[in-house]
């Protein structure tokens, strides 16, 4: 039974792959069950009322379905990717601002991601989660406030103290590979 499987044992990238390749509604339902309530909470902490948050969360999850082909599991975990969609929705729907996005790098010849790279990125994300959980209380609260509330960049210390070294190197490697295939 899926209800007995802990969230961190679910192969999220594989579920997104099945959404992309097979329009797999069961896979989508699993992703939805886990992430939609978190996205909704995120939007409500960002100042949205319940009704709007519900509506926006449905839109975020629909975007996930439509953009499943753009997800690169060697660069981001599924939670990271959904966070970026939810954040953009928050800016767009709650702040009524436009969000300039960097030039996309995912338009190169489509290559199957190397499974080993996918796993390493997953592990790096787990290590990051652990490191964030172990930050001194005061610092973790400040970082949470930056992401959930609205600290301006002037209120964020230039040195955030976040241990981003190894996950950054993995992403850097993935970008290099992508640049290589684009040539």
């Amino acid at each position: 039974m899926t209800s007995m499987v802990k969230a961190d044992e679910i192969d999220w990238p594989e579920l997104v792959r099945r959404i992309h390749l097979d329009q797999d509604k069961k896979a989508f339902a699993k992703v939805f069950a886990h992430f939609a309530p978190r996205v909704k909470s995120f939007l409500m902490k960002g100042g949205s009322g319940e009704t709007l948050a519900e509506e926006c969360t449905q839109e975020v999850m629909a975007t996930l379905w439509q953009k499943a082909h753009l997800f690169d599991p060697t660069r981001a975990s599924v939670s990271t990717w959904i966070f970026t969609i939810a954040r953009n929705k928050k800016i767009d729907a709650l702040r009524k601002q436009r969000r300039p996005e960097p030039e996309d790098l995912t338009w190169g010849p489509e290559a199957e991601p190397d499974q080993a790279d996918v796993i390493v990125l997953q592990q790096e994300t787990e290590r990051l989660a652990k490191a964030v959980a172990e930050l001194p209380e005061k610092q973790r609260l400040l970082i949470k406030q930056a992401y959930f509330g609205d600290l301006s960049h002037n209120e964020i210390a230039e040195e955030t103290g976040l241990p981003l070294g190894t996950i950054k190197s993995r992403i850097r490697l993935a970008l290099e590979r992508l640049r290589h295939t684009m040539k």
């Binding site: 509604k25 939805f32 939609a36 309530p37 978190r38 996205v39 909704k40 909470s41 995120f42 319940e50 519900e54 449905q58 839109e59 629909a62 975007t63 439509q66 753009l70 981001a76 939670s79 959904i82 966070f83 970026t84 954040r87 953009n88 800016i91 702040r95 969000r99 300039p100 996005e101 960097p102 030039e103 996309d104 790098l105 995912t106 338009w107 994300t125 990051l128 989660a129 964030v132 959980a133 970082i143 949470k144 930056a146 959930f148 600290l151 301006s152 960049h153 002037n154 964020i156 210390a157 230039e158 955030t160 996950i167 950054k168 190197s169 992403i171 850097r172 970008l175 290099e176 640049r179």
Partner: protein, 215 residues
């Protein structure tokens, strides 16, 4: 690509990842990242922090018919448009092109005096963002800053008290910096500059002209 030496700092990357920068600053950040894989990797690791926080935070129950409504929404939404493919050899990266309406040839310049030209870009009003064209060898009026100023070089290069800035380089200036950027000889310098407060000019004439120029 020229080697980029001047990068974004952590607070700007985290501000962009968390969605808390004014639109004009976001445009400068997105444009720099389009040119700089180093900062792109740093940004994506800040995105990962957001993912981790969201994944381990509270939940708010969705409505009972949510999943069905979402499938409905999917069925009724036209397919997302393909992301625009950057044109080879463009001077302006795609995020900037979407504000200008095309590459450099589509910029509608207006004269600032001394051969310097600018083009204000329309964004939300918490920050002002503009393209600047400084003639080869010419100087911008020397000035200080009340808030934060981000300057990203797109073409040519300039030098000031903090060093040399070429394509892709970004200069972060705040209250502590008083500078006179000078474009290098040989090529006009085109940059994208965003400020969240009006600049402070030392000489009298630019200060008088300030309200008219919108700097």
């Amino acid at each position: 690509m020229e080697q980029i030496k001047h990068h974004l700092n952590d607070s700007l990357l985290m501000g962009y990842a968390s969605g808390n920068l004014p639109e004009g600053f976001s445009l400068v950040v997105a444009t720099h990242i389009s040119l700089c894989d180093e900062c792109r990797a740093r940004l994506e690791s800040f995105d990962a922090v957001g993912g981790v926080l969201m994944d381990n935070d509270d939940e708010v129950a969705m409505h009972e018919d949510s999943l069905a409504s979402t499938f409905n929404l999917i069925a009724n939404t036209p397919e997302a448009p393909k992301t625009s493919v950057p044109t080879k050899g463009a001077v302006l990266p795609t995020p900037l092109q979407s504000y200008v309406g095309g590459d450099l040839d589509k910029v509608r310049w207006s004269n600032l005096g001394g051969g310097v030209k600018q083009c204000l870009l329309k964004t939300s009003n918490k920050a002002t963002v503009r393209l600047l064209n400084i003639p080869a060898g010419a100087a911008m009026p020397d000035h200080g800053h009340r808030g934060t100023e981000l300057t990203l070089v797109l073409k040519g290069a300039f030098r000031d008290e903090d060093g040399r800035f070429g394509r892709g380089d970004i200069e972060l200036a705040n209250e502590d910096l008083h500078h006179t950027p000078v474009a290098e000889a040989g090529e006009d310098c085109i940059c994208l500059a965003a400020t969240d407060a009006p600049l402070r000019f030392r000489s009298l004439i630019p200060r008088m002209a300030q309200p008219f120029l919108g700097i």
